[in-house]
C-alpha cells in the first residue's frame, strides 16, 4: 500500500501516477476537500476532478500526528478519532505554508496571509465591497489580487517588497516558460488600474480591535491606506515537520519537494512512479523537473526578502502569536531551543509553524528538532484505552 500524505498538486499527481502503475494507494489530507491550497474550491480543475473520479481512497480532515518510520505506520487523527495506518511506501506531499513576518499590528483581526485571505474567500468569505491592501512578496500577490477583484473587492494597492530591478531580472527566465508569460499577461489584464508598487512594504497596521488602516513605506514615501482587510505574505515555507520527525533518510519514504505549483506537481509524479516501483518512468520526468526547479530558483532569487523587513517589529510586537512572546523578549538568544525554553516561544499549538520561520528570518535561528505529536492531538489518540 502506498500512502500519500497531502492532497494538493503533489499528492494528487503522486496518487494518480502510482495508481496508473497498478499500485494500491490511499491519500490522507488535513483539508476538508482535495486540492491543497492552490486548487482549493476549484471545481473546474482537471486534476482535482480526475482525482475525485479515480476511486483512490481519500481520508479528508485527517492529520498525521505521529509517524513511526521503523514500524512503517502512521497515527492519524480525524474528527477526534485516531487510527493507525500502515504503509509499504510513504509519499510526503505536505506542501507549504506562508511566511508571516511580524510588524506592529500584525495580530489585528483583519490582517490575513495573502494566500490566507484567498483561501478564506474560496471557503465562503464574501469580499465584495471590501477595501483590501495586499503586501509581501511573490507572484502569489498578483493571483490573490486578481481573485479578490474578480469577487468584488476593492484592491487598493499591491505592495511588493522586491525592487523593480529584481523583477526585471526574472524576464529572461519567464521567456523559457511561455505559459507563464500568458498567465502574467492575463493577470495584468485582470489587475488593470490596481496600483502595484515595488520596493514597497507594509510597516504597520492600525485599528481598535480590528484592522482599520495600514501604513505603507515605499522608497522615501510613507503613507496610510484605510482598509477592511490586509492580505500579507512573504513567500512560502515547506511543511516539513512530518519529514523531519522521521529522522535521517527513513526507508520507503519519498518526499515531493514543494514551492511553485509546476515543480510540486512533477515532484509528486516522480515520487508516485518511484514508490510504485517504476523509477525508469520517473527518470523520464527529470528534464521537466529540472526546468521547474530552474523557474522556482529564479523566483527565489527575484523575491528574496530585503533586510528592512527584519526591522519592522518593535520591542512590543508579538513574534510568537500563540504564547504572546514579544520581539524584545527574544533578543539575546542564539538559537530557537534556548529562546523556547526561556520564553515559551514555539510552545503553543502551532508548534512553531508561524514563529519559527519568522525567527529564522529575524535572528538567523535554524529550526529545532521535531518531536511528535507533530500536530496537537487528543490524549485519547496517543494512549490506548485502558481495559475496563
Amino acid at each position: 500500500m502506498i500512502v500519500v500524505v497531502g492532497a494538493g498538486p503533489a499528492g494528487i499527481a503522486a496518487a494518480l501516477r502510482a495508481q496508473e502503475c497498478g499500485a494500491r494507494v490511499t491519500v490522507i489530507d488535513d483539508n476538508p476537500n482535495p486540492g491543497g491550497q492552490i486548487w482549493r474550491a476549484d471545481d473546474a480543475n482537471t486534476w482535482v476532478t480526475r482525482f475525485r473520479s479515480s476511486g483512490i481512497p481519500l481520508l479528508s480532515g485527517s492529520r498525521v500526528v505521529w509517524a513511526d518510520a521503523k514500524a512503517h505506520s502512521l497515527l492519524v487523527e480525524a474528527d477526534g478519532v485516531a487510527s493507525t495506518i500502515h504503509f509499504d511506501k510513504l509519499i510526503l506531499a505536505t506542501g507549504a505554508r506562508e511566511l508571516f513576518l511580524p510588524f506592529p499590528g500584525s495580530t489585528l483581526p483583519g490582517v490575513f496571509g495573502a494566500g490566507g485571505l484567498q483561501v478564506l474567500a474560496k471557503s465562503g468569505l464574501p469580499v465584495a465591497g471590501k477595501r483590501v491592501v495586499i503586501g509581501g512578496t511573490g507572484p502569489l500577490l498578483l493571483a490573490v489580487a486578481a481573485y479578490l477583484r474578480q469577487h468584488g473587492a476593492q484592491v487598493k494597492l499591491i505592495a511588493e517588497q522586491a525592487n523593480i530591478q529584481s523583477l526585471a531580472g526574472l524576464a529572461p527566465e519567464l521567456l523559457r516558460h511561455p505559459k507563464k508569460v500568458l498567465q502574467g499577461a492575463s493577470l495584468q489584464w485582470a489587475l488593470a488600474g490596481v496600483p502595484y508598487r515595488t520596493g514597497c512594504w507594509i510597516e504597520s497596521a492600525q485599528g481598535h480591535g480590528r484592522l482599520q488602516s495600514v501604513t505603507v513605506r515605499g522608497g522615501r514615501d510613507i503613507w496610510t491606506e484605510d482598509c477592511d482587510y490586509a492580505a500579507i505574505g512573504y513567500g512560502l515555507v515547506p511543511n516539513d515537520e512530518l519529514r523531519r520527525s522521521m529522522g535521517e533518510n527513513p526507508a520507503d519514504v519519498y518526499v515531493a519537494e514543494t514551492g511553485e505549483v509546476d515543480l510540486s506537481f512533477v515532484e509528486g509524479e516522480i515520487a508516485g512512479l518511484t514508490a510504485a516501483g517504476y523509477p525508469e518512468r520517473a527518470l523520464l520526468l527529470h528534464p521537466k523537473r529540472d526546468k521547474a526547479r530552474g523557474f522556482a530558483a529564479a523566483l527565489d532569487t527575484t523575491f528574496a526578502l530585503r533586510d528592512e523587513l527584519r526591522h519592522l517589529a518593535k520591542p512590543g510586537t508579538f513574534v510568537c502569536r500563540c504564547e504572546d512572546v514579544t520581539f524584545e523578549r527574544l533578543q539575546g538568544y542564539t538559537n530557537f531551543q534556548a529562546a523556547k525554553l526561556h520564553t515559551r516561544c514555539g510552545m503553543g499549538p502551532c508548534q512553531g509553524r508561524v514563529c519559527g520561520p519568522a525567527a529564522q528570518f529575524l535572528f538567523g535561528w535554524e529550526p529545532g528538532s521535531v518531536r511528535p505529536p507533530i500536530f496537537p492531538a487528543r490524549i485519547g489518540s496517543l494512549v490506548p484505552d485502558k481495559p475496563a
Binding site: P109, G115, S123, G124, R210, C322
Partner: protein
C-alpha cells in the same frame, strides 16, 4: 442555506463554507483572546496558525478554517 448558532444567535450561512468563513460573514470579528487578552481572528486560512480556534459543538480548540459548516452546528468564540 444552512442555519447554525453562533454565541447563541441563529445565523444563516452558505453550505459548503468553512466555519471560519461563516463566522467572518456573520460579523464575528474576534474568534479568540490571546494569552495577553488581544482579540484574534484567522490568519493563515489553512489550519497551521491556530488563531481561528473556536468551540464547535462543545469541542474547544477546533480550527474553524478546516471544518465545514453543518446544519445545527453550535459555535462559541
Amino acid at each position: 442555506m444552512s442555519t447554525i448558532r453562533v454565541n447563541g444567535r441563529e445565523v444563516t450561512v452558505t453550505p459548503g463554507s468553512t466555519v471560519a468563513a461563516a463566522l467572518l460573514q456573520a460579523g464575528e470579528g474576534t474568534f479568540r483572546r490571546s494569552v495577553s487578552g488581544e482579540p484574534r481572528a484567522p490568519l493563515c486560512g489553512m489550519g497551521i496558525c491556530f488563531e481561528c480556534c473556536v468551540t464547535i459543538d462543545g469541542q474547544p480548540h477546533s480550527r474553524s478554517c478546516q471544518i465545514l459548516v453543518r446544519e445545527g452546528m453550535e459555535i462559541e468564540t
